[in-house]
């Protein structure tokens, strides 16, 4: 039977092997910086990771309760919104992206369009006032890149 711990352990082992392969390629400067160069510590850590990843594959814990498809979809939506927010904050300024992002996260936690809209608008304006006047951060309130 495939268990999550086995998959995770295997992933750790593969990443660790890639780390060792990467460490062997490190460019060392001509002058030596001591008997232990930049390769040793990464290889040491990666070696221990292979060991522990193997242990996890050999003795997996009971399966965690992963979210259902719908919950997973909601989390995926949240991730997309957060990534979008990261890209939108500079070109669009603070207010609009913040209202949309916090409104969407609110609706994902509690599916109620009216409350989510109010939360988004309230948080956007409220946090802007706090950041700007109480904390003195320099934030651009809005901007239109087109």
């Amino acid at each position: 039977m495939i268990r999550s711990d086995r998959v995770f352990g295997l992933a750790i082992v593969l990443v660790a092997l890639a780390m060792i392969a990467g460490a062997l390629q490190f460019q060392e400067p001509f002058f030596a910086s001591g008997p232990v160069g930049p390769k040793v510590f990464p290889i040491l850590i990666a070696g221990l990771m292979v060991l522990c990843g193997g242990l996890m594959m050999a003795r997996p814990d009971p399966e965690p309760d992963w979210p259902h498809a719908m919950s997973l979809l909601r989390i995926a939506v949240a991730v997309v919104v957060m990534v979008g927010y990261a890209y939108a904050l500079k070109p669009f300024g603070f207010l609009l992206p913040t209202a949309i992002a916090s409104g969407v996260i609110a609706v994902l936690i509690r599916p109620d369009a009216l409350r989510a809209t109010l939360t988004g608008a309230g948080l956007s304006v409220g946090l802007f006032l706090i950041f700007k006047y109480a904390l003195g951060l320099t934030l651009v309130p809005w901007r239109w890149p087109f």
Partner: protein
């Protein structure tokens, strides 16, 4: 008498109108952060660090704000434990055992006041302990060379991993993941070798540990709330009357004293932290009390002991963090991140070079304690009111504060993307029951651990036995191995008693 004159220096630094104001604000925010389920102390301090940093506070001011938040969160955790049977943060789990039954008997007010006084006793005594013990330990720490530091970092990972997780392999993997993340960037030892940057210039400076911390704690928490639809939120709490149960406070005075001492030493152990402090305090009081069999049904002593214990441990955990640069818990790891952001290196030299910072911090802790006693006993009703903020407002708010904080550090969208990646990683790790605190510790200490290893090897000209050549190093190695292995055998003894009622506990 050295301690007293140092303390006088500390108060002279800490007592300015502005730092006092920051301490009050910090205590207030901290109590809220501690009380709200799902927003633990590590989390709360983490999202506030970028803000404190961008506001241009100096070291004393930033520390006044954030250590007040730290102590405040330890007080606040008890409020939702008692009223809702949901621990506000992990160390407050033990407080639910007798606090919630007391609330069901209509004595919620008594339980809140008693636990508030116990919290004060615990953290006040621990702060005295910190003022006495930290300079002594700093003197020992002078004897530490690179080999000893390497063993000490190992000890911190081992005891933290051994005690924090259920599965040793997973704790070890957590620490190793953190150490690997710390290696990303230009090798700080020679300044030329790019390691694991994949040619991406954003990664040359390494990954900012604040980005990792906020992502792993705060963003991952948002995903958990989205999955659970915010079921753990605390709407509809009521508190009738608050009186001062003098008789019960006096009855518990020895309980508080014993629990504080035990909690303090549990906190000093690297990696043990506040959860162990409250656990040990509760179990030992239950064992020695004449009415021990009524623990778990609303015995006031069962409320006083864990609260004094966890607050004392919070103070004790600052001892190794300040003297050795090795944090004893998740939240002190985050405070270490704050010190590193402020360019302050904890360790024995800190006591000699920056006495104003150390003693100012200790003085702030005394002040914060008194502020917290006033806030948490007569004014506890305010926090009960704030507890009813619904999750669908709180979590978007937390997300936005995290994003703006990290964005204001660097003004780069890349850090925000990294934070989301860490959030996804934190969610998956928590689902798999891989503890997150060793990851944070690894990210924070990775570079120093590698440095101390490489310095030790340079000193010994590549002879690996140098790592075990001094008595201090050997003791640390033995303690490290013992701390990692012993919990496997003690697991049966350390098992937590079940929570009362049908409450859902936040166990991480």
């Amino acid at each position: 008498m050295d301690t007293l004159s140092n303390l006088a220096l500390g108060f002279s630094v800490a007592v300015t109108p502005f730092t006092l104001f920051l301490a009050v604000v910090g205590c207030f925010l901290g109590t809220i952060i501690g009380a709200l389920p799902g927003l633990g102390p590590a989390n709360g301090v983490a999202i506030l660090i970028p803000l404190a940093f961008t506001m241009g506070f100096d070291a004393t001011e930033a520390l006044a704000l954030l250590t007040s938040v730290y102590y405040g969160a330890m007080y606040g955790g008890r409020i939702s434990s008692i009223l809702l049977n949901i621990p506000g943060d992990e160390p407050a789990v033990m407080t639910t055992l007798d606090g919630y039954p007391m609330a069901r008997q209509g004595r919620a007010g008594d339980a809140l006041v008693l636990s508030g006084v116990a919290s004060f006793a615990g953290s006040f005594l621990a702060t005295i302990g910190l003022a006495v013990m930290a300079p002594l330990l700093a003197r020992v720490a002078y004897l530490f060379g690179p080999a000893e530091y390497f063993a000490l970092y190992l000890l911190a990972f081992c005891t933290l991993g051994g005690l924090a997780g259920k599965n040793q392999a997973k704790s070890a993997i957590a620490a190793l993941i953190g150490l690997s993340i710390a290696m990303i960037g230009i090798d700080p030892n020679n300044g030329t070798t790019a390691r694991y940057t994949f040619g991406n210039l954003h990664l040359n400076d390494g990954i900012n540990f604040l980005v990792a911390i906020v992502g792993l704690f705060a963003v991952a928490e948002v995903f958990f709330f989205i999955e659970s639809h915010g079921k753990d939120s605390a709407v509809g709490v009521k508190l009738d009357k608050v009186t001062l149960p003098i008789r019960e406070i006096l009855n518990c005075k020895w309980v508080m004293l014993r629990a504080s001492i035990l909690g303090f030493f549990a906190g000093v152990l690297p990696g043990a932290g506040a959860s162990l402090g409250s656990f040990m305090a509760y179990m030992s009081e239950k064992a020695i009390a004449r009415d021990g069999d009524t623990f778990g049904t609303g015995n006031p002593k069962g409320v006083a002991a864990p609260e004094a214990g966890n607050n004392a441990a919070a103070g004790g955990a600052l001892v190794p963090m300040l003297t050795l640069g090795v944090p004893g818990s998740g939240t002190t790891a985050v405070l270490l991140a704050l010190l590193m952001t402020l360019n302050i290196t904890p360790g024995p030299l800190l006591f000699a070079d920056r006495p104003d910072v150390v003693w100012g911090l200790i003085a702030t802790l005394f002040i914060a304690n008194i502020v917290l006693l006033v806030m948490n006993v007569p004014m506890v009703r305010i926090f009960v009111y704030i507890l009813s903020v619904p999750a669908y407002v709180l979590l978007p708010g937390v997300t936005m504060v995290s994003f703006v904080g990290v964005y204001s550090l660097s003004g780069s969208y890349f850090d925000l993307l990294m934070m989301v990646v860490f959030g996804i990683g934190g969610y998956i790790l928590r689902k798999l029951e891989v503890p997150l605190v060793p990851v944070i510790l690894g990210v924070l200490l990775g570079n120093q651990m590698e440095n101390s290893l490489r310095k030790a090897m340079t000193l010994s000209d590549g002879d690996w036995t140098y790592l075990f050549s001094s008595p201090i190093a050997i003791v640390l190695w033995i303690a490290a191995i013992g701390g990692f292995v012993a919990p496997m055998f003690l697991r049966g003894l350390l098992r937590r008693p079940p929570l009362p009622g049908d409450g859902v506990a936040d166990q991480d």
